[in-house]
Symmetry: C4
Subunit: 225 residues, 4 copies
């Protein structure tokens, strides 16, 4: 299987977008060394663009990105795909509304994941972006569909675009890769703020109806039309 | 309503100033993604210059800034104004001495806001800049004047140019936008230092008369005349 | 009083050195806005070169530095000297072996100062550079010789080049300005590490004889001859 | 003893590699001032390339690196070698599979070392890279083979490429200098994450068999073939 001529331009654009978005991971301090990855679905095709495995962020270019099908089989590119490809692929197969997936081991989100505790919705910013607490997914070993299934099952039961996989780290999704990166940046930010707030005392929760109003407004009014 | 020719130069200068000051927010680690904003009052006019909504800091230029009246209605610019425009506008309407307003979700200040605890005045730097403890404002939903009123009512009862809005984050004011940004940088710095000091034990408070002497000196002697 | 021709070259060199060393304060995250300063003694003259008051680090150049006598009176320069000039001057008058002084409000060192606790000598790096615990100086108001006297009295009773002034922040000294900046960088680094270690449990102390051996070796063998 | 003509090219290449890798220490926030060092074994020769003592990271170039034999005696270079040279040399003499050694005082790893507590294996990333808990080595004074022996004895009893030397800081090893730097980056990252997770509660441990499967996969499948 190869990429057909008609989607070549789209793939080319996504290769650049995905390569550039890895720069947001490093700029926001979400990753060290090679431990995080971004992917994007190729719209209307059973294909995704993802980071190659074990390549440092400095060396990532549109040319080093790889294209796989939605079972993680290499379709285009000279390098082996990310070792997390199976998890990304599972998400795309089971969540058709998702156009981008991000995985990091960002410090504070991973600390909540290590304790297996959801991040409570105690900030307007959490209500805005996550619509409630940020849920914890199961512990799952790499190597089969366990991680992907854990992500999808957890996200299906929540409004949150982020899930904290136990003893592992956060995965985020979005309508496109940029939205998934935004969620990755925000989950670390609120994980840090709520952790720090918790250190010195109890946190009053937001009311459900306030969370709903904030989430609705942010999802529908915020930003440029 | 459009900007009259006589204030065009002033508005042009403020557009650049406000765009540049957003760089201080990122440089000082006060904001992620698009979650913070700076505005400046146009002197002697019922106008303000403010960040557009949901635009990333890298893309902010003097041209992307928008001008609104002091009820948040767009006067000049092609983008929708910040979703916090109503709060900024309320402050300008009710605090004529204020020439700049800043809002962030900076980590440590927001953590104090999440607990609803004022930052105690235990450092000379807090006495200098804030003249006492840094107060907490009410929880308020976005969408009407609640946030603006909460800011103004709290600041009116204090010497502090910063208020920690509950479950939300800090707002700061100043005689101009640069002074408000300085207060935003300093509130995060002292929020962090006092948090860390508190983690390992009790903090002796400064005496009221020492706070007064420090505040008076800093406000009147520090810097260049 | 003006700078005599014979010391003009030395002063010129020190202006550049001191301006450049402020860059180390920002690079090492020790200061925000304008809240920290470096000075250097002019060797064999009752003069010092110091930062002007309230000027941002970006705007500091060798030309904006000011020269004062050792009572803080302006000798050369167009700007008012740092508001901490009296403390620097007191140190130079009373500690002839000191050629450089640095003051910051760096986060972790200031947190120890806010609690009024010395930093215990539990790391080889602390033994190396500070020769024992890092002491706390008295609370003192700005405006007379109280701060300077508190610094000198505390350092005289210690091998440490750093003192944590209560509710205020660290002052460091060195044989020249670069050595004082190094001590400022290291006091924040060890203040942070020991704070973090302390959060989760007790810390075994180093033995006095081990501290002495480490300190002696570091002061006499480390680095280039 | 001098470097023979036949290894000159190899040494030249390693000088550049080692100089560049020090940039990763600063970029990842593992070192301040001059307090950390990287070395590389010269393959098939009883030689190593290491940082000179007390030279700042900005001034490090391939030309300032020094070459010593595996007892730390200077073979090539104009500067005195790192004061930690004896420890690096001891590791190379006793661990023939090691091609690179790194020493830092990175904050969180050093905090675990100050408490003398191993970092528990509670994250998949720790299983991947370290194959179990990250062990603590003995307190040892600089000046003889005590530090080197403590490193080697501890690593021999573990799968971890990192050891936390008590009251001192981490040493890491790898098949080459880049692998040792990677371990230094990762030990600080997991030390930080696990510290933060620990602050708010208990951490469920990974099961031995899961650790073994993760470690085996990461060591043998991850990255490019």
């Amino acid at each position: 299987m190869t990429v057909s001529a008609e989607v070549r331009d789209t793939v080319q654009r996504l290769r650049r977008t995905v390569a550039d978005l890895h720069g947001e991971l490093t700029r926001n301090g979400l990753v060290i060394w090679t431990a995080g990855n971004v992917s994007a679905r190729v719209p209307d095709r059973d294909l995704m663009v993802i980071k190659p495995s074990g390549v440092s962020y400095d060396e990532l270019t549109e040319h080093s990105m790889v294209v796989t099908d939605l079972h993680g089989e290499l379709v285009e590119g000279e390098l082996a795909p990310s070792s997390d490809t199976a998890a990304h692929a599972y998400v795309y197969r089971h969540m058709p509304e998702v156009g981008g997936v991000v995985h990091t081991h960002s410090t504070y989100a991973t600390a909540w994941a290590a304790r297996g505790e959801p991040i409570p919705c105690v900030l307007t910013m959490i209500a805005d972006e996550f619509g409630g607490e940020i849920p914890v997914g199961p512990f799952a070993l790499i190597g089969d569909d366990s991680i992907g299934k854990g992500i999808v099952d957890t996200l299906r039961a929540s409004r949150s675009p982020a899930v904290l996989m136990r003893n592992h780290g956060p995965f985020t999704v979005g309508k496109d890769a940029r939205a998934a990166v935004k969620a990755a940046v925000m989950v670390e930010d609120v994980a840090r703020t709520v952790h720090i707030a918790h250190q010195l005392g109890q946190l009053p929760a937001l009311r459900r109806e306030d969370i709903d109003r904030l989430h609705d407004r942010y999802q529908n009014v915020y930003g440029q039309r």
